[in-house]
């Protein structure tokens, strides 16, 4: 994979994880499945858990262990109020940014065809 593409995906991963938790609490594997399904952020699974632990240390996420029927407990994450404000702000920046970039790129992509 192109180095630039790796950097880009990495930069978006934090936002994608925070956004996936917007509707409510999820555990790690659910977040992974959601990311695989809703976005083509192909990610090494092992990067998501350390990132979750940092987002928690930064106070953007909260976590709790919940006993599951499967026999092993699951660690659920949810956005803290600070995390909700942060993801909303990141979302606004992202959508402004991508809209202007798309306008610029539409010419490039049209002519390339």
């Amino acid at each position: 994979m192109d180095k630039w593409e790796v950097q880009l995906r990495r930069g978006c991963l934090e936002l994608a994880i925070l956004a996936s938790l917007w509707p409510g609490r999820l555990y790690g594997l659910e977040i992974l499945r959601l990311l695989e399904q809703d976005s083509d952020l192909v990610i090494t699974e092992g990067t998501v858990y350390p990132l979750l632990s940092r987002l928690k240390a930064e106070g953007l996420l909260d976590s709790e262990w919940v006993e599951a029927e499967a026999g092993h407990p699951r660690k659920y994450y949810r956005l803290t109020p600070v995390g909700r404000r942060r993801v909303a702000a990141m979302g606004r920046i992202w959508s402004r940014f991508s809209a202007s970039l798309n306008r610029l790129l539409s010419r490039v992509l049209k002519e390339e065809k």
């Binding site: 790796v6 995906r9 090494t44 092992g46 858990y49 990132l51 632990s53 940092r54």
Partner: protein
């Protein structure tokens, strides 16, 4: 090393290897990390209630190499600590964790330690000046010697003091400046290190 055939043993071996890379983190955090990874692996690898051999292999492979996963945890931890308060103490602790992972971290730790020691020495000299004005100062040991001694020294007997009471403002600003500069240097290095680690981890499965 002998590779176990039993999926449950494979999982335990994997987790032991992750644990060996997490030695620099506090034990409750390590236990929490391992429990979360175990829970992930079991849920992915269990099909129909039993552990399947091939699915276990695929699950572990998708997670990434155990030491790589462990170093990502340490890297994210270093980052979170350093960013949480940006004080010399948290930066130093972050760099200390990093130093246990790599030679680069060790070099950055050395530079930071020297920086903080210099900063502290300037401060201490400035603070001690009012209490012992005749002994504390910046001394030259003689006209034909360029060696300088900062702080309390017996050079007072045969040397010359250069700064006088100016030692207090100069010591405070030089001390503060050195400490601030060292903290920024540490943070800058930590951010670069963290970016490199995570990029490496992301690229891992596509190699």
């Amino acid at each position: 090393m002998l590779q176990p055939n039993d999926p449950a043993q494979k999982i335990e071996l994997y987790l032991r290897q992750v644990r060996s890379g997490l030695r620099s983190l506090p034990e409750p955090q390590v236990a929490d990390i391992l429990q979360e990874l175990r829970s992930h692996i079991l849920e992915r690898a269990q099909s129909g209630g039993t552990l399947s051999d091939t699915v276990t292999d695929a699950t572990l492979q998708a997670l990434g190499r155990p030491l790589e996963v462990a170093s990502l945890y340490v890297a994210e931890n270093v980052m979170a600590r350093a960013e949480s308060s940006r004080t010399p103490w948290t930066v130093l602790r972050g760099v200390f964790l990093w130093a246990m992972l790599s030679l680069k971290g060790f070099l950055v730790l050395t530079v930071c330690l020297i920086g903080y020691l210099f900063g502290a020495a300037f401060f201490i000299a400035a603070l001690a000046k009012p209490f012992n004005p005749h002994a504390v100062g910046l001394w030259t040991t003689g006209p034909d010697s360029y060696s300088l001694a900062l702080g309390m020294t017996d050079a007072a007997r045969h040397g010359r003091e250069l700064l006088g009471w100016f030692l207090i403002p100069i010591g405070c600003s030089l001390g503060g400046g050195t400490i601030l500069l060292t903290t920024h240097f540490g943070l800058f290095c930590i951010r670069r290190f963290q970016r490199a680690r995570v990029t490496l981890g992301l690229g891992g499965s596509h190699e």
